[in-house]
Symmetry: C2
Subunit: 401 residues, 2 copies
Amino acid sequence: MDPGIWCPIEGGISAPRGFKASGITAGLKASGRPDLALVLAPESAACAGTFTKSCVRAACVDLCARRLQQSGGRAQAVLINSGQANACTGDRGLMDSVRATRILADHLGLAEEQVLICSTGVIGVPIPMPTLLAGLEPLMGALSDCGGTAAATAILTTDLVEKQIALEGMFGDRVVRIGGMAKGSGMIHPDMATMLAFLSCDAGIEPAIWQAMVCRAVKRSFNAITVDGDTSTNDTLLAFAAGEALPEQHHPVLEQGLTAVMQHLAQAIARDGEGATCLIEVQVEGTVDEASALQIARTICGSSLVKTAVHGRDPNWGRIAAAAGRSAVPFDAEALAVWIGEHQLMQAGQPLPFDRDAASTALKRETVLIRCSVGDGLGHAKAWGCDLSDQYVRINADYTT
Amino acid sequence: MDPGIWCPIEGGISAPRGFKASGITAGLKASGRPDLALVLAPESAACAGTFTKSCVRAACVDLCARRLQQSGGRAQAVLINSGQANACTGDRGLMDSVRATRILADHLGLAEEQVLICSTGVIGVPIPMPTLLAGLEPLMGALSDCGGTAAATAILTTDLVEKQIALEGMFGDRVVRIGGMAKGSGMIHPDMATMLAFLSCDAGIEPAIWQAMVCRAVKRSFNAITVDGDTSTNDTLLAFAAGEALPEQHHPVLEQGLTAVMQHLAQAIARDGEGATCLIEVQVEGTVDEASALQIARTICGSSLVKTAVHGRDPNWGRIAAAAGRSAVPFDAEALAVWIGEHQLMQAGQPLPFDRDAASTALKRETVLIRCSVGDGLGHAKAWGCDLSDQYVRINADYTT
């Protein structure tokens, strides 16, 4: 994505003016690592959400979705606990989620429905409520407009690295900032999965317009990554926007920045996929529309055979062609062209002679680029994933044994 | 599947009366292993086919589909070469396929459209035609009513074991036999993939009825297995039926036998999945219909996290619940129950206390059974797969490097 007017700045989720964040060690994780985070947005913030499509979903997801619907897309705070997913925990799960937000809302002086909660960690394990509740006061005490990194750290479970970014753009002499943080490395670690993402923006925007913008950006970022094809019970994205209203003619540029923030976070998740040694970017072009291109790109990105070939630095065009072919998007096989990096391996549906060593070298880069053209259409899209290593299998097979 | 009246017999694809088969080493494979097979059915045999849904498909698949359509579902012979998939080979691919069947038809004294061809092996490599054509005479010379094993061996590529079966059933004093052979271990080996299956039956049946019966049996067998989620350019199933007509009231029992033959072959493919150490059978019940149950069962079977958990003998119900939840079949999460073997791990959407060691032992069996109930519906289905081992990754990553 062309960054356009947008430049990276420090501060993550708390970079936009008026936003505060904090992260502390409340004692929810046995490891003693930070495990409780809070994001606080300015009054009457718009809040857009996208949630896991799984029908086995945690109570906190139900709570977030319902409150956003009731409030017409407005919320001011989100509490995030890591360590326990609070999924498959029955009635107790929902009661705990409601209770935590109610008490936090009291403390913050907010209406209960302005406070949301996200949980990540082990499925089937409820939140140790006394521990969480005892953490609320120090968590609020730590709220700060430079608390982004602390919050980004406290939401991690098995991630190897924290994932945050902030961008700043000038609209005339008006500065707009967008911040974000995420956690996830695919639903890869046993029961310790979940993709969570949180965004902040200091431009005012109507909730319905913001929700639509967020959905489009999610489609081109978080919905374009695949690590192991598994979806969690708790996947949630929440995006807050509050501040001086941004005139409508600037919305396309705002969306460009929002998309860039989400793509950065999504790529960071793919790169952190368990056992991954590289990021794979698949570009597909020539389809009738963007959705078709995305579907082909995601199928290639998710193919175990493509992922293992990349891991082995094997320029195996046959696997790429086969994955494109089974994506359920119809195209003329005799129009298929395939590149790895700058090396073209197929043209008009047939293999080309190519320098195998050079193509293998292109697979050794930190970001491996695979490109497919399937026709003359104007549709194009990108998807991101990671290679599949024996390390992935060992980690996931040997967890409890 | 309840075998009902059906008992296993020797002979594979050539067990039904009137059918002949052969397999030879024509020299198509560098390894010197058998690589050319022929199946010959009695005159005016019905022939039903199902083919890969990939839009990158080999010329031989196009040829088979077109000839069966033109003949109204009748064919008498199929030639199978292993070593070269003849996919992504452009016009030459189709010309070679047509030429091979035309010459074979001449030799056999059949009309050209009565002869089909299937190829399996490396994508992008054409068939060495002089070698194949030189093999036709010895191949026909070897045709025999006990040639099933030779044929089943000659269609293999990277399979570890040959896959064949025959069943015999009595309809009053009438004996009916169904034979079958297959190859495939998932689209697992680099470019050396493809699922091929061939069936024979010595009962006469109208092509349209036979095709419908074959489609239903495929749905409950080959379409219910998943090894690595990849689909080949050449996947083909051809089922021949010829003999004294079987009265319509016996068709359900015939279909039962046909399904049992296909399920045996499909399970053999899953069990032979590269790096696999066990067969996984997933049973799903309580859905509104069979298709929904199959979709949930296939999603569980195909989950990398479930597959690695089984490999690690880890009774990880959370991964099973999460896979069921993301299958896109709606169900009430609070109705979910999960068993591994005879051990129930979840009830009413929540974990049960269970004996972890005993459940882990149930995962050490040759066939691992996972069962899910998602409601009160009458829909139920089974799917089969295999575990995911680090061996899978090593084989697929290290192929050309």
